[in-house]
Structure formats: C-alpha cells, structure tokens
Symmetry: D2
Subunit: 144 residues, 4 copies
C-alpha cells in the first residue's frame, strides 16, 4: 500500500489517537500555533504507535531510526485547546516503515504528516531487514 | 498574604487546574522531562489563570507583564503522561501580582512555581497601580 | 527547476547560511538532537531567506503561508555545537514557492529540508499569483 | 558569598559566556521572545559551566541535580539576534551549589537568573556533601 491509499484528513482512517494539549509557547508571533510545534505533536503520536508495535516482540537490538518527516499544513490552529493526533502504519518497505498522521481539532483536520523510519540493528549498527514476526504484524496492521 | 501561607505541594491549595500532556521532545538526554519544559507547563496554567481574571473586566489597556518565574524541582518526571498544573493568586503588591503553581502527576507534586507579573498600561507604556475593581477581585480570589 | 536539480547535501549549493547554536534542551532521551529541533533550525533559515526577499518589495498585503515542510535526517547530531543552515529558493509555482535547506556541521550534511510556501493576499484572504516584480526576483534568485 | 554580592546585570561579573542564537519559534504571540525560551538560554550556559567544572575531576558517580531556577525578566527581547549568556558560580552550600546568570544583547542586560544544583551520588542515590577537591575548586572559582 502507499500513502495515496489512505485519506489522512479523515478521522475514520485512524484507530489510534494521541491527545496533545496546546501550550501558550507553541504560538508564534502571528498568534498561530507554530509549525515547529506540529513536529512535536506528530512525534508524540509516532512514539506511541511504534513503541506499541515494538513492545509486542522480543527484539532488544531492533530499533527504528527516523529518516524522514513530511508535514502538510492545512488550517491555522490557535491556542488554547487539545488536538487529537491519529496515527497508523502505511507501508512496509524492505528495510523501512512508513507511517501516516492526521492532526484533528474535533473533526477538522489541521495538518497531515508522514514519517519514514528505518529498521536498525543496534548491535550490528546498520539498517536491517526486519524479523519475520515484525513483518507479519506490520502487514496485518496496515491492512487492518 | 505571602507564599509561605500556601502549601503549593498540595492539590487542595488549588481550585484551577490545567492539564498538560507530556511530549517525547520534553525529555532530555537523561530520559527525564527537561527543566525547560516545566516553564512551559507553568505558563500554560498562568495564561489560563490571568486571562480568566482579565476577561472579567473592561480594561483594554491593562496588561500583565511577566517579571519573574521561580521553579522548584522536587521529583523526576518521565514521558509519557499528563500532568495537572494547579494555579492560584498568592499576593497583590502595589503594582504587581504574585501567583503560585503546583505541577502534579496524580497526587504527587513534581514541582512548584511562583510568578510575579507587573500591571502595565499599554497606552501609557508604564507599570501602574491596578484599577480598584481588579484589586477587589484579586483580593477576594486570594482569600477565597 | 525542481529539487532534483540541487544537491542540498553540498555547502556549495547555498549562498545564504544561518548559524544556529544547539541547546541542551534540543536533545532527546537517546542523547541526540531531537528531530523536532531541526524544524526550528530550518525555520530560522527560512525566515531569513523569505524575509530578505519580501523586504526588497513594497507589497504590504503579500504574505507567504507555510504549506509543507519535509525534513530528511542523514546523520546523528550531538550537543554542544553550532550548525550552519543553508537556504535557497528552488522553484516558483503558479501560486507557490519551494525552498531548499541543508543543515551542516562544518562540512558534514546532517539533514536536508524542503519547504513550500503559498503566496497569500492578507487583504483578500486568499492565495494569489505573485506580483510580476516578485516573480522576476525569485526566478533570478533560483537560477543565480 | 551570596547573590547580593554579585551584579548579574553587568557583563563584568562574568568570565564565561555562551552565545545563543535566537530562533523564530522562540517568539510568542506578542512578538517577544517567550519567557520559556530564556530557561533554555540559561540552561545552555549552566551546562557549559557545570560540565566544565566536573570535567576537572574524576568523580564518576558525582552528579548535579537541578533543584531550582529563578529568572528575572528585565527587557523585552526580539528575534532575530544572538544573546550572550554569562554564567558564574555564586555560593557553595553544604550539599548544594548556587550559580548566577546574565542574558545580554550587546551590553544590555535582558534577564538575570539563578540556579541551585544539589550534589548527588548516583551510586548511593542520595544528595551528598561534595568531595574536598570539588569544594576547593568551587570556592576558588567563586572568589576569583
């Protein structure tokens, strides 16, 4: 599957949501929530999604290294409030995993995002093809 | 009244609480929530407290300028989670207002803080004695 | 032109550099500079680049709205230190402008980034085709 | 010695300075550098000061735990620019160390700050009286 198979602007695309409370210091000089803060919102959801995945297995040397983040800004966002960040797996590459995100204020999509993480063996210190059980779980989660 | 009249480590000291969700990026290299993040937590609560106070009145030129922040760190805090930041008015000076804060994880106090804001007239561009109705409301809130 | 015409990993691609000092709080729990901090580094350079462009003209209602940020992480980065963020214009679309960035520690490229900004008329409150003088300046800067 | 023995608003009080480049995202909705950012500026200087001190000795279990931060805001600060953060040791308590800071834009003092760190033995997991050689070095640095 690829990003075009998923509508990241729709809450229905996501099963997992991470609430993030806005902070006064997230605002910039225009009175909007600053674009940098969105990277922190997406990271909060990514950490939950990927840690939840890794915790299902016993691969102590396996890590995910963040290789790419893409954020598309669709609406202005204003303090105060709480956003819900939807997160889901999108695609399994040979040594990488793509995940997709939607930042929602109630039912309005404020931003979407995409991350690419690389499977990495901390003992060998290089990127690796993921173990079979991880492949199966990721594939199941993507199509689920 | 003064700070010593209030036990900022007790939830019972506060009527107003602002929830703040922790972010992965709040952590530092020791795996703790970094001290800088607490300044943002306290600010989130201060903004709610003082804006709530100012909105009761019609003094368009009156602003509060932050003059001092004190944070006392009492416990390590770890991601993920949500803290509740209690906020209350503490003391009214001739041209300033002291407020107190407690950062709680459930019932455990992680940090306390104090802020001093100065009443400022934006038209005259100088610090001022607050209007009588603000004095009355602040005094009532402090003793309440 | 498009992104593929420029090697963002080479300092030689850039004429404009913005130095950014690393902060202890930029680190995450793995002891690396956190991915979110890179969004702030890129923003520091983008603001300089685009403000420098806008200041050449007298279009008070013309603004640039950030629509997309892409960051590609290539190397780990560690505190302390100073990075140089190279910035340059990449492509002029009908109503948008793409810019490219390289984050360097000495001559090592740590990350590259791309931004898309939309030309926006603040009086009409909608995206617009940029004025002719802006088009000329941008086109000259891209090919320069 | 105590804080009142040092004029933190004067550059002459400091021998150590840490430059910190301002970031667009340091600004808040009033167009000032936000108070939270100052906590990061002070931390940048504190880390340099205390790490420089610890590196002189071979006490692998000795750490400094941040117990208190006080920041006094004296002037508005605006992006862009670079501030110099002066740092110095102020007082040695029985198990704690107080340090003082001045944030300068050229020769103008924008803010001052104070930190209290507690000497902590990571093996025993408790606060401790510092070793004699650390006491001597700190005392010499304070009076120097």
């Amino acid at each position: 599957m690829s990003l075009s198979d998923f509508d990241l602007t729709s809450r229905a695309t996501f099963k997992h949501f991470t609430p993030v409370t806005l902070r006064f210091s997230d605002q910039d000089s225009m009175g909007h929530v600053n674009n940098v803060a969105f990277a922190a919102f997406v990271e909060a959801a990514r950490t939950m999604l990927i840690q939840g995945l890794l915790n299902q297995f016993n691969h102590p040397d396996l890590d995910f290294i963040l290789a790419r983040v893409v954020i598309d800004y669709k609406q202005e966002l204003h303090y105060p409030g709480t956003v819900d960040v939807g997160a889901r797996l999108i695609n399994l590459g040979s040594k990488s995993l793509t995940s997709g995100y939607g930042v929602f204020l109630d039912n309005t999509c404020i931003a979407t995002a995409e991350s690419v993480n690389v499977f990495y063996d901390m003992a060998m210190r290089k990127s690796v093809v993921p173990p079979e059980d991880v492949k199966v779980a990721v594939t199941s989660e993507i199509s689920g």
